[in-house]
Amino acid sequence: MRLAARAGVWILPPLFSLAVYWPGLWAWFQQDDFAWLGLHLSIHEPSDFWRAMFAPMAQGTIRPLSERAFFLTFHALFGLDALPFRVAVFATQCVNLALLLSIVRRMTGSRGAALVAAIVWAANPALGVPMSWTSSYNQILCATFLLGAFRCWLQYVDSGQRRWYVAQAAIFVAGFGALEINAVYPALVAAHVACCARSRWRAALPLFVVSAAYGLLRTSVVEPAVAGPYVMHFDAELPVTLGRYWFAVLGASRLDELPAVAPWRTWTDGAAWLLCGAIAGFVATRLWRRDWPAAIGVLWFGALIAPVLPLRDHFSDYYLTLPALGLALVAGWAWSSARRTGARAAVLALAGIYVTLSAPLGRAIADYNRDRSDAVRNLVLGVARAHELHPGKTILLSGVGTDLFWSGVFDKPFRILGVNDVWLAPGSEENIGRHPELGEVGDFVFPAGPALRVLAREKAVVYAAGGDRLRNVTPTWHKLALQRWKPELARRVDAGNEAFSDQLGPGWYPIEGGYRWMSARAVVWLAGPTGGGQKLRIAGFCPAAQLSNGLVRLTIRADGESIGTATLETPDAPFENSFPLPATLTGREKVEFVLDVDRAFVPPGDGRQLGAAFGIISIR
């Protein structure tokens, strides 16, 4: 019986976690997942691999283990089968729960306290996102490194053996490959030293040196954000943000933005106040009695949430995944401190209220992400099937709404399957909510005029999203489109796409790898701007060979009038320039843009005079 109870302590938290986040096990990919799944496309030679692994990406993050290596390896092994990815996340979380059990057991001497702590952490709704969205695996893996290192630290404190100190230091350093928040590990150790092991304070100091070195290294290679939600604000809002996170970790959060979660809001708010009062009372009472370890949980929460507090405009519930460990420690310590039956009943009741309200929130988030990713799966794999059925044709998607666009189109998942000529059907942008901080919906929409032309030539198919499967609606959509639009010129041309060749005049070579070279002079026709203040935008690529004899100047004329000159000066890099357009061009059905380079080059063995390689040319 005692054996079963002991085994239950180990098994119950993982089973509980599996039960709560079960839908997350079956979730597919969405959003940022596709950026990481497509990482292998940027690797063409060995040096690319190192860049892919360690160059700052996505808000300047460098997470080689939890993002780069994880996605590269699993994609190489399993392709777009999401289940192995999800199993890895769940298995890692099982390890985390075992480490937490072990830590709390060691600190309190109580299996019951360990079980309470593990269940409290597993139930926290902040885990809903990492347990159902693969891109946030960094939170789960970072917990593994933090808890693993801390468990070794406890062994070192107990035994004094240097090998445990070295082991915790090694795990700590490796943890920087998972998430930047790993840098607060020395503060977690310091909290333990201050509350439980003051004689070991010298051993904690080198850990701070490591974190400081990491901080210096990171600031030297990563530019801080100057605009958008990732700008750091060190102002009077910090305590306000801290308060929001504190209430969120207790269950009262802005998760009511998810329709499935909204009905719980009233209950979670009330419970959060109750739990807040109980925790404050417990910690204050224990500290009054000089029971210092009771403060560790609160200190851990503060240390683990501190790095994201300056992100005032990017409040994210899943940032609480790690700070929720502090709440778990508080709960474990409360259980171990409650000697009398009545006190234990009170702890159990509070933990019960918390779990009863929190676990359904976590489940709702997992349900939401599973359903959302299912829709993305139907879209992405449906497009792949459409490409098989209609090879070589442009695929236009109608019926893509706001959520499906931002979760399943914006991060360009189709390129991972080798399907590049996929666009939103004209008019789609009218049904998609804007998020200018993320990007422009219009960049994904195929212009109406070229759409009518490629459909007339049977070079495109239209599929409607919505429902379980994509529906081929080409003839019907074409009929409706003929009523709605004229085959006029587009204001946006992709020179690297055959569908836009009607708008390219003399001076262009055939398409090569998504780009198209111009000779020394080339002509492109666009519909005129719709209003004042619009600009001509050009984007292309500048190979190093093009600059072998010096900079290249590109001059542009619009209907005979010069609108500016761009200088191509960065080798082997994309270029993008914009030119203000004269108001006189507004409303014209057709504007002729003539592009001139001052010096074309002839690649050895090619024979062509190459001016510049272009992708998108547009008026915005």
Binding site: I11, P14, F78, C94, N378, R385, L389, A464, G466, R471
Partner: protein
């Protein structure tokens, strides 16, 4: 020691089961598409019917509860005139509901419509609940294979009032009924 091995062994077994479940073969993923040939436009659109979604031109959000869609302040559909409508005319019917959240904020809503640019009389609604906007459409407006119907609300929940989306009414069906 034996007890320790058993309890940890059970934990490791759980992880192994998870891992084995994940080790499926690569390349088995596929989703079929529906290749309909030449589907016809419909005269009556149900909000949740994926075959008719293509006729919801603009101003509609995704299907919710597999039965209805929120509209924006302006929304447009394309409808096929029913048989004989070019001679006898038809009735335009829009079934929708006004949730409390809308009425509480805007007090009253006036809905107007037009077919191929020809305006129809509007109607005001002051109560939450289900409503029917119905108007006779003359035969002269129903020629051709399809007609475009535009709707507009004088008041709606602008983005940010209740949620991030601009919200108008909750549409369940819209269509042309033969006379």
């Amino acid at each position: 020691m034996r007890r320790l091995t058993l309890s940890r062994g059970a934990f490791i077994a759980l992880i192994l089961v998870l891992c084995l479940a994940g080790c499926r073969r690569k390349g088995r993923l596929s989703v079929e598409t529906v290749e309909e040939g030449d589907p016809q436009l419909v005269s009556m659109i149900h909000a949740a019917d994926p075959r008719a979604a293509i006729q919801l031109v603009r101003g509609f959000y995704d299907v919710e509860q597999n039965s209805w869609r929120w509209t924006m302040g302006k929304f447009t559909v394309t409808l096929r005139p029913p048989a004989g409508a070019a001679h006898k005319g038809a009735a335009l019917e829009l079934k929708f509901s006004l949730p409390d959240a809308v009425i509480d904020n805007v007090k009253a809503v006036r809905l107007t419509g037009s077919i191929n640019g020809v305006a129809m009389d509007g109607e005001s609604y002051q109560k939450a609940g289900e409503h029917l906007y119905s108007r006779d459409v003359p035969a002269s407006s129903l020629g051709g294979e399809a007609v475009t119907v535009d709707f507009a609300l004088d008041k709606f929940l602008s983005a940010g009032m209740v949620e991030q989306r601009e919200l108008g009414i909750v549409m369940t069906t819209v269509g042309l009924i033969p006379k």
